[in-house]
């Protein structure tokens, strides 16, 4: 039995390889490239919306300490709302406006998915900046605005960007949802695979989505590294890492779980 299953798996992977080699997979409206472009487009708009909401809020509460508990609570509870459900609600809400079909419901759900890591990390990053450093900045006569942009944000940048990275990866991995309401993306290929019972197509496309998520992770890790001030890089004791969770050096910060 086990041997037969082994053969089946190899046979299946062979079919997946053949699917990748098929020019039809790479051309036309349902081809990988067309869907990939849609996928990246939907993801990019969603991430931009997450940033537009999460970053100012996170920096504000991180800098002032005001409303932190409420904002972080809401952000964390927001994590529990399933994206598919949220997209369904957005779909219904957009029906009367005639905007329900297309990428918009998914963008709303994905933007909401992306806000918590950005917000929580921006807040945590700023809170963990050495208070003496902030006091010193004030002492030399910097305005609050200058303290934020010249001291707090640069020092907290690795943690802030770790949040952006987490958001980006989650969004790219979840953008497949959009296909259910006419938003296209690689999810369309997966749904078609389900509807016509084509496991090879489901698996192959899911593999592309997974690779895309990994690629996103690597890209943002590189950005994070490139954007980190040389003065903060490679020091064993970096005061910008609130929670030493996960990968090397705790880069994933407070959103490490």
């Amino acid at each position: 039995m086990g041997a037969t299953e082994g053969v089946d798996v190899i046979e299946f992977l062979g079919e997946v390889a053949a699917w990748f080699a098929d020019p039809g997979t790479w051309s036309g409206q349902n081809g990988i490239p067309a869907r990939l472009v849609e996928h990246l487009w939907v993801s990019a708009i969603s991430l931009a919306a997450s940033l537009a909401i999460g970053l100012p809020l996170g920096l504000f509460i991180g800098h002032t300490g005001r409303g932190a508990l409420a904002a972080v609570s809401v952000a964390n509870i927001g994590r529990a709302v399933p994206s598919l459900g949220l997209m369904g609600i957005a779909f219904l809400a957009l029906l009367p406006l005639g905007l329900a079909i297309g990428p918009l419901p998914a963008i709303i759900a994905l933007a909401a998915l992306g806000v918590p890591p950005i917000l929580v990390n921006a807040h945590a990053g700023l809170r963990e900046v050495d208070p003496e450093l902030v006091e010193a900045a004030r002492g030399v006569g910097m305005s609050e605005w200058q303290v934020l942009w010249r001291v707090e944000v640069p020092v907290a940048l690795p943690v802030i960007l770790a949040g952006v990275r987490t958001s980006a990866v989650q969004i790219v991995a979840t953008a497949t949802l959009a296909a259910a309401v006419g938003g296209g993306t690689l999810g369309q290929q997966i749904l078609i695979g389900f509807n016509v019972g084509d496991q090879v197509r489901i698996f192959g496309t899911a593999l592309v989505v997974a690779l895309l998520s990994i690629g996103t992770e690597l890209l943002f890790a590189w950005i994070q590294r490139a954007a980190t001030s040389p003065g903060l890089r490679g020091r064993p004791h970096v005061p910008t890492q609130p929670a030493q969770v996960g990968r090397g050096g705790g880069e994933s910060g407070s959103w490490g779980s």
Binding site: N76, A124, V181, G182, L191
Partner: protein
């Protein structure tokens, strides 16, 4: 720092709890339907009648039709076990062949195509004949079909139908390019959808204003009802057609393969039960029109009635 961590932990726990709660709700509605309606073995006729196990596929229509069979057969004196919502054909077909279930409602075209690799047409008799030939080798019998069919179809809003005078797919073909279409994701590659519209009705599918959604789900019906699209690919017995008062266009040139429902019965049971199975189930099939099936769906899916209640009510309303 410490309070922050504690807080994150607390929030994470809460998140876990919430998501656990929300993911469970899908199972609730159907769970009670599979409970047997009480054994009636005490009935006087039951002594010499074989015991019957009725199965169904994993969705409402198959389950409610199976429940109707079950109650009717109980009234006829059989002892009936229910195995409703077993799953897809890769589960139900072996169960029928092996005798774990004795009867289940099946769709002519789907059964012929999926299980036997046949090619159903829109002709009910022809497709049923082909299915019966295949079933015989598996020791199975298909009884008489319902007039109702659960096939792919197209629906419009009542106002669109009135305005443009639409009753059939041929009518729709005349105005196809003026309307916004919502079709299944795979429509463009499904020979019975995109290419079929072109072949049978001369609708140039590629030139249409098309949005892709899931056919047969409530989102596409909602989108049609709320004027986000004008034509929706639906399943012909989809409950929302009744709930929203949508107009299902008649497939006048026969695009969709016949998906009429037949009771599929094990030959062994037929032999043991005389003609009591046929005489009980055929009159039921005769009355199950597309509209009746849609209304049953409206009751169990939209109004949340149990299969048991909906089936009992239907049997009573139809004088069984």
């Amino acid at each position: 720092m410490r309070t922050y961590r504690t807080f994150v932990l607390g929030a994470a726990m809460l998140a876990l709890l919430l998501s656990a709660c929300s993911s469970g709700e899908g199972n609730g509605s159907s769970a009670d339907a599979s409970t047997p309606a009480g054994s009636q073995a005490a009935g006087s006729q039951a002594a010499d009648l074989p015991e019957i196990t009725i199965g169904s596929a994993g969705f409402w229509e198959s389950a409610v039709v199976a429940e109707i069979y079950a109650q009717a057969l109980e009234k006829a004196g059989f002892t009936v076990e229910r195995e409703l919502e077993l799953g897809a054909r890769d589960v139900t077909h072996p169960a029928l062949v092996d005798g774990q279930i004795d009867i289940m409602p099946e769709y002519i075209g789907g059964y012929l195509a999926v299980t036997y690799g046949g090619e159903p047409t829109s002709d009910v008799e022809e497709s049923l004949e082909a299915l019966r030939t295949e079933l015989e080798a598996d020791g199975l019998v298909a009884l008489e079909p319902t007039p109702g069919t659960d096939a792919d179809g197209f629906a419009v809003r009542q106002e669109t139908a009135d305005e443009l005078g639409l009753a059939t797919m041929s009518d729709l073909a005349e105005v196809a390019d003026q309307l916004r279409w919502g079709v299944a994701q795979e429509c463009a590659e499904n020979p019975n959808c995109g290419p079929g519209l072109e072949r049978v009705y001369g609708i140039d599918f590629d030139s249409l204003d098309v949005e892709t959604l899931g056919a047969c789900n409530s989102a596409i019906a909602e989108a049609l009802n709320a004027n986000n699209i004008d034509v929706a690919q639906v399943c012909t017995t989809q409950p929302e057609i009744a709930a929203f008062g949508l107009v299902l266009l008649e497939d006048d040139k026969g695009l969709a393969p016949a998906q009429n429902i037949v009771p599929v019965v094990r030959q062994e049971l037929m032999d043991a039960a005389g003609d009591l199975i046929e005489s009980t189930l055929n009159p039921i099939s005769e009355l199950l029109t597309t509209e009746e099936l849609t209304n049953l769906g409206n009751q169990v899916v939209i109004n949340g009635e149990s299969y048991e209640d909906a089936a009992a009510q239907w049997l009573e309303d139809n004088g069984f």
